[in-house]
């Protein structure tokens, strides 16, 4: 092989490697991480969906995870450690109880978790944790859809992440070990009332966001004045009392049973509004006229 041929082969190889690198930039990947390979009946385990952005900054993710639920049962999902900080579509099971779908936002983008001891290489980030319990011996398989992602570039450029899959084996033994993240924490809650012409025709709505680092939020509920507690799923929530004269209580509960309550005071009632002043003046005038008429009649009678 002469020098020129070697040169050509070298450049072609360089080209091929380069193409792979460039292609990699636009191909983030998702993986399913299992906490255990084999569990017993009654034993809980979790599956983490991990996102490796491969250097790209990504700010939305949409997709689903399907699992065989013949031998296992779904307990709950946890998003306390998720890179997703706002859910557009909260994780929810379909009617067959074997597919969990969701769509979420990572504000300002996510391009990997920094390991301070090795900051040059970024780690994949958790999107969601699914907790299951083994029921009877067998094998359960898991698979994901192709995930739709959008780049954090101000234009919402769409890319995809290839699907992933995995299996868990449920052995022929009993183990009643339950999964529990033992960190004790209180939820954090942000809640306030607004009204905007673009939402429910400018009616009062509750805006809220609840977060719990350890296990995630179980539910958020609201109590308006003396009415009973109502679970609220999505922000914005249309308030029942549109007069805003009721005190509003918002409670966020985490999966460990710890809760935090936020109180939103009603709008203070001001008697001396322009309308009320006009009404008072009108009533005084009417009264004066009536008194004048009665006094006139009385005088005439005398």
């Amino acid at each position: 092989m002469n020098k020129k041929t070697i040169k050509i082969y070298f450049l072609v190889s360089l080209f091929a490697i380069n193409l792979i690198i460039v292609r990699g930039v636009y191909a983030a990947s998702v993986d399913l991480d299992f906490s255990k390979e084999v569990v017993g009946a009654g034993e809980q385990f979790y599956v983490d969906l991990m996102l490796d952005t491969e250097g790209e900054s990504i700010n939305t993710i949409e997709g689903n995870i399907t699992f065989q639920n013949d031998n296992i049962s779904f307990i709950r999902y946890e998003d306390g450690k998720s890179m997703v900080n706002l859910w557009v579509k909260k994780p929810s099971l379909d009617s067959d109880k074997n597919t969990l779908s969701f769509a979420g936002v990572m504000t300002n983008g996510f391009n990997g978790v920094i390991d301070p001891f090795n900051p040059k290489y970024k780690l994949p980030g958790q999107i969601i944790r699914l907790v299951f319990e083994g029921e009877k011996p067998g094998v359960s398989s898991f698979s994901t859809s192709i995930f739709n992602l959008n780049l954090n570039n101000g234009e919402g450029t769409s890319i995809t992440a290839q699907p992933s899959n995995g299996i868990i084996k449920i052995g022929d033994f009993v183990n009643n070990q339950k999964y529990n993240d033992k960190q004790n924490s209180l939820p954090t809650l942000d809640a306030y009332v607004i009204r905007d012409p673009n939402v429910y025709n400018n009616k009062y709505v509750l805006i809220f966001k609840a977060f719990d680092k350890s296990t995630g939020i179980k539910y958020v509920e609201i109590k308006e004045g003396n009415k009973s507690w109502v679970v609220v799923k999505d922000s914005p929530y249309l308030l029942k009392d549109q007069s805003r004269r009721s005190t509003i209580y918002v409670q966020a509960m985490n999966n460990q049973g710890a809760s935090v309550v936020k109180t939103i005071e009603p709008i203070p009632y001001h008697f001396f509004t322009t309308f009320n002043i006009f009404v008072v003046i009108f009533v005084i005038i009417i009264l004066a006229i009536v008194v004048r008429i009665i006094y006139g009649k009385f005088k005439k009678h005398e």
Binding site: N18, N59, G109, N111, N153, G154, Q183, T188, D190, S235
Partner: protein
């Protein structure tokens, strides 16, 4: 054509493709200057807790530059953790402790004298208990604004904001490709550039800025847009037309705007102001555009 010529053509083709693909790759590199270091904290035996366990402190220290005397905000997992005021030279430091082993998302931003926000510098990091982590050289973006939302073609448009004092600020204007103008901030960090719009075609433009300090570059400011048209319309009001995602016109892109957009998700006929990419529906693309301009 001879065989030799074919080979030369092939080589040329390969080189062009390589150069092109490298350009694409280079464009994705984020110019950031942050340095991160960590060390394991050795307990000297003096930190015993009441329960007999060993309490090894975990601290995360942040330092960097904002604007002179500006308030710097530190968010942990999206909620306010601490604030600090930068000194005269715009330098700031934070220190937080009592963290357990976990992944945390920290976000830092500042505000200029007129309440404009810098870009949010946000990053997830794995913190292990018993370590001291330093995150230094955080170089917050400048702010940027214009004196008009619409400028009459041929008139001057003032582009201004705040940054580190006495440093070079590069102002980019998107005209199909970026045109860059350089100014130097004053002792308060303020900068101003008078843009001659004579050479601009009628239409909408975006402008953004970044600061250069010791050959390091800050993040870009949150871009603002302006219209070159037939009238002058003064700015200084709300940012509905200049900050994408600010749906309720309060100069922020935050949870309220997200909730307004979420209300219209998968609904028919969303308002034009909510449909950020103008395709007649609210999809994840609209949320993605909003997430890019997020200010908290």
């Amino acid at each position: 054509m001879r065989k030799e010529s074919y080979k030369k053509l092939l080589l040329l083709f390969i080189l062009i493709i390589i150069c092109f693909s490298q350009m694409v790759f280079a464009d994705t590199i984020v110019s950031q200057t942050v340095t991160i270091s960590a060390r394991v904290v050795v307990d000297n035996g003096g930190g015993n807790t009441g329960g007999g366990g060993i309490d090894i402190p975990t601290t995360v220290n942040f330092s960097g530059w904002a604007y002179p005397y500006s308030t710097v905000y530190l968010l942990k997992d999206g909620f306010l953790e601490a604030t600090v005021v930068a000194d005269q030279s715009a330098y700031f430091t934070f220190s937080i402790s009592d963290l357990v082993t976990d992944t945390y998302t920290f976000s830092i931003y500042t505000e200029d004298d007129n309440g404009r926000k810098s870009s949010l510098f946000s990053f997830p990091i794995l913190i292990n208990s018993g370590t001291a982590v330093n995150i230094d050289n955080i170089f917050l973006s400048p702010t940027i604004d214009t004196d008009k939302t619409e400028v009459k073609k041929g008139d001057l448009l003032k582009i201004f904001g705040q940054s580190i004092p006495l440093k070079e600020v590069l102002i980019s204007i998107n005209l199909g490709q970026d045109y860059v103008f350089s100014v130097v901030s004053d002792s308060l960090g303020k900068y101003l550039y008078n843009l001659d719009t004579s050479n601009l075609n009628l239409g909408r433009y975006k402008t953004k800025s970044k600061t250069i300090y010791n050959n390091k570059e800050s993040l870009y400011a949150i871009p603002v847009s302006f219209l070159v048209g037939e009238d002058n319309i003064n700015g200084g009001g709300d940012t509905c037309n200049t900050l994408p995602g600010d749906l309720n016109c309060d100069n922020h892109v935050n949870l309220t705007d997200f909730s307004i957009m979420a209300y219209w998700y998968n609904k028919f006929n969303p308002p034009e102001t909510v449909d950020l990419n103008g395709d007649g529906t609210i999809s994840l693309v609209d949320f993605s555009i909003m997430a890019f301009y997020w200010t908290e």
